[in-house]
C-alpha cells in the first residue's frame, strides 16, 4: 500500500528527444506527487510537483501528467539535453501531515546522448 513503482530503471535518449518516466502508486490517500532530480554525489533536488486536483503541470521543459483513476503519474522531459543526464525519482506523500514523509520510487537513470 505504501509502495511507489517507477519505470523504466534506465533510459537513453538522444539530445532533443522526449524522455518519459512513469510511476504508479497504490495508496489513494497520497495527495502530493513530487519528482526529484539527483546528480552523482548530490542530494535529491525538487524538480516539479503536482497535487491530484490537476491532471497536468508544466514548468519549462518538464511536465507532469497525472491520472487519478489509474493511480499513475509521469514525467515528460521535452527537448532533452545532456545536462539532464541524472537519476530521477518520483515520490508520493500525504498532506496535511505532521510527518509528510516521502515514499520514493526506485529511480530512473537517464542518459541523454549528444
Amino acid at each position: 500500500q505504501q509502495q511507489v513503482k517507477q519505470s523504466p530503471q534506465s533510459l537513453i535518449v538522444q539530445k532533443g528527444g522526449i524522455s518519459i518516466i512513469n510511476c504508479a502508486y497504490e495508496n489513494t490517500a497520497f495527495d502530493y506527487f513530487p519528482w526529484y532530480q539527483q546528480f552523482p554525489g548530490k542530494g535529491p533536488a525538487l524538480l516539479i510537483a503536482i497535487r491530484p486536483d490537476v491532471s497536468e503541470k508544466k514548468e519549462g521543459r518538464f511536465t507532469i501528467s497525472f491520472n487519478k483513476s489509474a493511480k499513475q503519474f509521469s514525467l515528460h522531459i521535452m527537448d532533452s539535453q545532456p545536462g539532464d543526464s541524472a537519476t530521477y525519482f518520483c515520490a508520493a506523500s500525504k498532506y496535511p501531515s505532521n510527518t509528510g514523509k516521502l515514499i520514493f520510487g526506485q529511480g530512473t537513470t537517464l542518459q541523454v546522448k549528444p
Binding site: 502530493y32 513530487p34 526529484y36 554525489g41 548530490k42 542530494g43 535529491p44 533536488a45 525538487l46 510537483a49 525519482f89 506523500s93 498532506y95 505532521n98 510527518t99 509528510g100 514523509k101 516521502l102 515514499i103 520514493f104 520510487g105 526506485q106 529511480g107
Partner: protein
Amino acid sequence: EPEVTQTPSHQVTQMGQEVILRCVPISNHLYFYWYRQILGQKVEFLVSFYNNEISEKSEIFDDQFSVERPDGSNFTLKIRSTKLEDSAMYFCASRAGQLTQYFGPGTRLTVL
C-alpha cells in the same frame, strides 16, 4: 539561497562503533527528516521530527537509531552500534509549512 548542510561528507567507522551524523536545516524550517540511500537503491524514509519530537519513524529506525535537535540549528542522527548493513548515504531534509522538502548533500557512511 538557503540550503541544508551536512557533516561530515564521508564517515568511515568500524562495526559496533557509534556515529553521529550532523545536519543544519534551513533556518526557518519546522519539519526535519532523515532518509537513507543504499548504493544503487531508492531513497528510504527513516524518521521525521517536528515540535521537538519524533512524529513518525520507519521500521528501519530501530533502537540503535536516535535523533536530536540539541540547539536551534543542528539536527543529528546517532547510530549507537553500527552494522555493516548501515553503510549507505544518509540525507537530511527539512521543510517549512509548505510541501517542498529540501535535501542536504548527504553523508556517506561506510561501516567496515
